[in-house]
């Protein structure tokens, strides 16, 4: 790779774009499912979670990529965990200071960003073998792909489960008067899994190359 490569060359643009669709971290790479499902009953925590993951993933990718030649491969997991844990502590403290309500809703799941497989997966698969700038783009791209799925799930769960979007009531009172009721099942954990199943179904019927043999 020459140093004169433009910052947003075709290859770099692909790093940003692929994780949104055909290489999505959640529906294709199967990474980071745990937190994806737990924080999606409402849109607001889902958005905050996506932004936190984006900050941690991009920075961790850059840091690991900068020091990748100095890490002995035997202890790389511990090194990665320490860097990620330090970044997560910073994010957690910032959330507690500026968005206390949301950080209460996220409860233990901010801490669980440390063990979010997206972070470890991307560090192992990409940052250890690439230069800092592509690693940064890869981090942003994958976190955006993760956030996209989170926001789709949270959108439907909040709309059908609470009749609101980002806290604003969107289903008019007249509907309730006519007998419409919120679908309480959507708030419960199992429906998040089924929603992901349906997203995967839709995605794979549009993109046949992703279909698994069994």
């Amino acid at each position: 790779m020459s140093d004169k490569e433009p910052l947003f060359s075709a290859k770099n643009r692909k790093l940003l774009k692929n994780p949104l669709g055909s290489d999505n971290p959640i529906t294709v790479q199967v990474l980071g499912i745990c937190s994806a499902l737990a924080v999606t009953a409402k849109l607001e925590p889902a958005v905050v979670m996506s932004l936190s993951v984006m900050a941690v993933l991009a920075l961790a990718n850059v840091i690991i990529s900068l020091i990748r030649n100095t890490i002995p491969s035997r202890i790389r997991i511990i090194v990665q965990l320490v860097i990620v844990a330090a970044l997560v502590i910073v994010v957690d403290q910032i959330l507690k200071a500026f968005a206390y309500e949301v950080s209460k809703q996220l409860s233990v799941f901010v801490g669980l960003i440390i063990t979010n497989c997206i972070i470890m997966g991307r560090l192992e698969a990409f940052a250890l073998g690439n230069r800092p700038w592509p690693a940064f783009l890869d981090g942003i791209g994958n976190a955006a792909g993760y956030g996209l799925i989170l926001i789709i799930i949270a959108f439907f769960r909040e709309l059908l489960g609470s009749g609101s979007i980002y806290g604003f009531k969107v289903i008019p009172q007249a509907f309730y008067d006519m007998g419409y009721q919120n679908n309480g099942l959507m708030i419960l954990p199992p429906m998040a899994l089924i929603t992901v199943g349906i997203i995967i179904w839709v995605q794979r019927s549009r993109d046949k190359s992703l279909i698994e043999s069994n």
Partner: protein, 205 residues
């Protein structure tokens, strides 16, 4: 004693790690293709959770929480180190997993090779860190309660992965719409299992 049994049952069925909190989903989805490997991973998770939760409990109680350091010197009474808990917990977990890996490699080489990369990945299994964080958040009073919670959560995870593995072994012979094969149907089946597990919520403990 009754209290311990309550916590144990509650963490297996009602607060099940997989169905109520989605913890440890990555390895749950990736390893559950056959019952045999799932049993191995499930036992490893019970073991690691059963040890790390009480260890982290002691760490939390005697080093991290506000006022914990008074046993060193009374002047440390208002030192609060709880912001360090993520990094301390993960260090305990990572080193313990390394230990388990060496033991399994020595005494059960076939299991070791069939688990492959997923053994070291227990270190980044959210169920393990989640166990410790829930222990901290729920403020269990004694070491015995924390241990009972750790073992119960491990057993709950074990049950979940065995269940899905058994279903996936059979599902291979059924005619599923092509785009839903593999990952998609596993998610939906897990969701249905989750709905089934929710019926345990009616139990009053």
């Amino acid at each position: 004693m009754e209290n311990l049994i309550n916590i144990f049952i509650k963490s297996i069925f009602i607060d099940n790690m997989v169905f109520a909190f989605f913890l440890g989903m990555c390895s749950y989805l990736a390893v559950s293709k056959t019952v045999k490997t799932s049993v191995g991973l499930g036992i490893a998770v019970i073991f690691v959770l059963g040890i790390t939760v009480p260890l982290n409990y002691l760490l939390n109680k005697y080093i991290l929480v506000s006022g914990a350091l008074t046993w060193v010197d009374p002047s440390f009474a208002d030192v609060d180190l709880s912001f360090l808990s993520f990094i301390m917990f993960i260090a305990v977990i990572a080193s313990l997993v390394q230990l388990v890996e060496m033991i399994v490699e020595k005494f059960a080489p076939t299991l070791y090779s069939s688990l492959g990369i997923f053994l070291p990945l227990i270190a980044v299994n959210c169920a393990i860190l989640g166990g410790s964080l829930f222990m901290q958040e729920r403020d269990y009073g004694t070491l015995a309660e924390a241990t009972s919670f750790g073992l119960g959560s491990g057993l709950g995870w074990f049950l979940a992965i065995i269940g899905i593995a058994a279903i996936r072994e059979k599902i291979r012979y059924s005619n599923i719409p092509a785009p839903l094969r593999g990952l998609g149907i596993t998610f939906i089946v897990t969701g249905l299992m989750g709905i089934a597990f929710m019926s345990f919520m009616g139990i009053k403990l």
